[in-house]
Amino acid sequence: MWLIKLAWKNLWRNRSRTYITTSAVAFATVVSILARSLQAGIFDNLVNNIVSSYTGHIQVHLKGYNDEQVLDNSMKRSSRLEQDLRAIPGVVAVTARLESFSLVSSGEKTKGCMVIGIIPQKEKAITLFDKKISAGRYLADGSNEVLMGKELSERMASQVGDTVILIGQGYHGSTAAGKYRVGGVMKLGSPQLNSRLMVMTLPASQELFSADSMITSYIISLEEGADLNKTSSEVHHLAGPAYEVLTWEEIMPEIKQHIESDARNMSVIQWILYILVSFGIFSTLLIMMVERRFESGMLVAIGMSKPRLQLLVMLESMITVMMGSLAGMMISIPVVTYLSRNPIRLSGESAEAYQRFGFEPIFPTSTDPGIFLVQGSIVFVIGIVLSLYPVYVVAKLNPVNAMKK
């Protein structure tokens, strides 16, 4: 205990140096936390945008559907399975869809499109189709209208109130044909969806494709912070071997790769930051050891054992770095919280690029407490590792040489 007291007193023998070191560590912690929380926030936002634009977090299909996305690989809708899926911890919503392809025709124009049948009210809890309506209205349960992607409607020159004809192949080779009124136009983020997507109610799609009670997928949405892979395993366990369970990462591996690649780039920047912090702390330790060389020699001469002296200098470093990293964590909390509630908003061309893909042009921060703890701990560990240098100097200390002036 007295050693801790002495270490604390030693810290204040040169107040300016202690303040500078602590501030440097605190600053590094703030920057490190801010960089990491911004990165996590941007990725979370990206994932939320993607998940809420179409895929959901997890999809359940009949085994083989993902490789061959045809109606013959559809499955019978089971209310029981839906309920069981909904009961898995972390799952906030489950809905069913029937997806297929068809030709859409209006006047003299014909184009291939992707037709999906949804349960409008349940779909609202997962995707944001209802928020993407740029003209007309969202689907009501039991409605026989369709929603078209904006680009698709423009290419077909179809507007709200117009009629379009869908012709294609139905379940088990039957012919699918139907006439539908355009109820709304959606401005979707993904250019691919915008130019191809046609949405109708699930019963309407089942009727169109002669696929009574059939669906192609269950779409599952998870609560924030839920473990994707763990929940996916639970879903897989519940659904059984007849089904395939895919996470959004498996459905869209390119997005996952993009996130991983960005994360790698960001980690390089963070390592540079850590190196800068290390130099800052190390230079202080160097000065401290030079200044106290004589005193260290004297302490060993009068009978302080080297391990005790090593513990003393290590305690001094630990206290300094701990104060800095704690201060950094405390300072970061309001900054990160503010940026989470008032995200950095892009403007100009960058903002337009984001908006073109249906993403809100914002950079929010993540307030995940783990980020504060991990980044604070990393800076703390750097300090501890560097404090091994004074420990080494003490180990090599020769009291006679140290006390020579």
């Binding site: 007295w2 002495l6 007193k9 030693n10 204040w12 023998r13 004589f294 005193e295 004297m298 060993v300 001469a301 009068i302 009978g303 302080m304 054992s305 080297k306 005790r308 009291p399 006679v400 006390m403």
Partner: protein, 240 residues
């Protein structure tokens, strides 16, 4: 019979042994008994400090043995030497070397903490020591709030704190004005007289030399005179 405290046989310390050897201490024999008040004198570079470092276990001789209270300190490991110093040897340095962030009391107490003494033992010892060195009422002051003489008396209190076998003082009065030096010498002399504490000084200071009971003169690492031997010789002559 007087108890032997230091017994050094044929000790030598050579610097640059492979190039141009410089004998800092050259084949020195030294025998000190309890209660001596000894001054090591000699010109700069004569080997006074090196000899003190060797006797104090801070440095190792290249040859010879040093026995402190019967223990051959030249055979101890570095960590054993640190423990040995803590228990048996008190040090007073030229430039006081107090820990600036600690009060006078804490500086003296520091070495007792290293020894693991209890608070009540420490309190009793500190009170006694501060009375002995004349520092009553100054125990809460930091070194920066004390004069040079007062700081050196704190250093003496620290050196005495663990009741060592002897105290090694390297030029203890060198940085003091004459009044402070005289006061310090009074304190040390009194401790020597009343407590039979053994002191060995390296010094150039004539005042210290005059107060010393025994004066050993070193030149080029060799003892060229030792008043103890003179006294013994004179006693022999008187006997004869």
């Amino acid at each position: 019979m007087n108890q032997t405290v230091i017994d050094a046989h044929n000790i030598s310390k050579v610097y640059n042994p492979k190039t141009i050897p410089v004998y800092a201490v050259n084949n020195v024999h030294l025998h000190l008994v309890k209660g001596e008040f000894t001054a090591l004198v000699g010109p700069s570079g004569s080997g006074k400090t090196t000899l003190l470092n060797l006797i104090g276990g801070l440095d190792r001789p290249d040859s010879g043995n040093i026995f402190i209270n019967g223990t051959d300190i030249t055979s101890l490991s570095s960590s054993q030497l640190v423990k040995f110093r803590l228990k048996n040897i008190g040090f007073v340095f030229q430039s006081y070397n107090l820990i600036p962030v600690l009060t006078a009391r804490e500086n003296a107490e520091f070495i007792m903490l290293l020894q693991g003494m209890t608070k009540s033992e420490r309190d009793a010892r500190i009170e006694q020591l501060f009375r002995q060195v004349g520092l009553e009422g100054l125990d809460k002051r930091r070194p920066s709030g004390l004069s040079g003489g007062q700081q050196q008396r704190v250093a003496v209190a620290r050196a005495l704190a663990t009741k060592p076998q002897f105290i090694l003082a390297d030029e203890p009065t060198a940085n003091l004005d004459s009044k402070s030096a005289s006061n310090l010498l009074d304190v040390m002399y009194k401790l020597n007289q009343e407590e039979n504490m053994t002191f060995i000084f390296s010094t150039h200071d004539q005042r210290v030399i005059e107060r010393a009971k025994r004066v050993i003169t070193l030149v080029d690492g060799r003892i060229v005179s030792d008043t103890a031997e003179v006294n013994v010789t004179e006693a022999h002559k008187a006997d004869g």
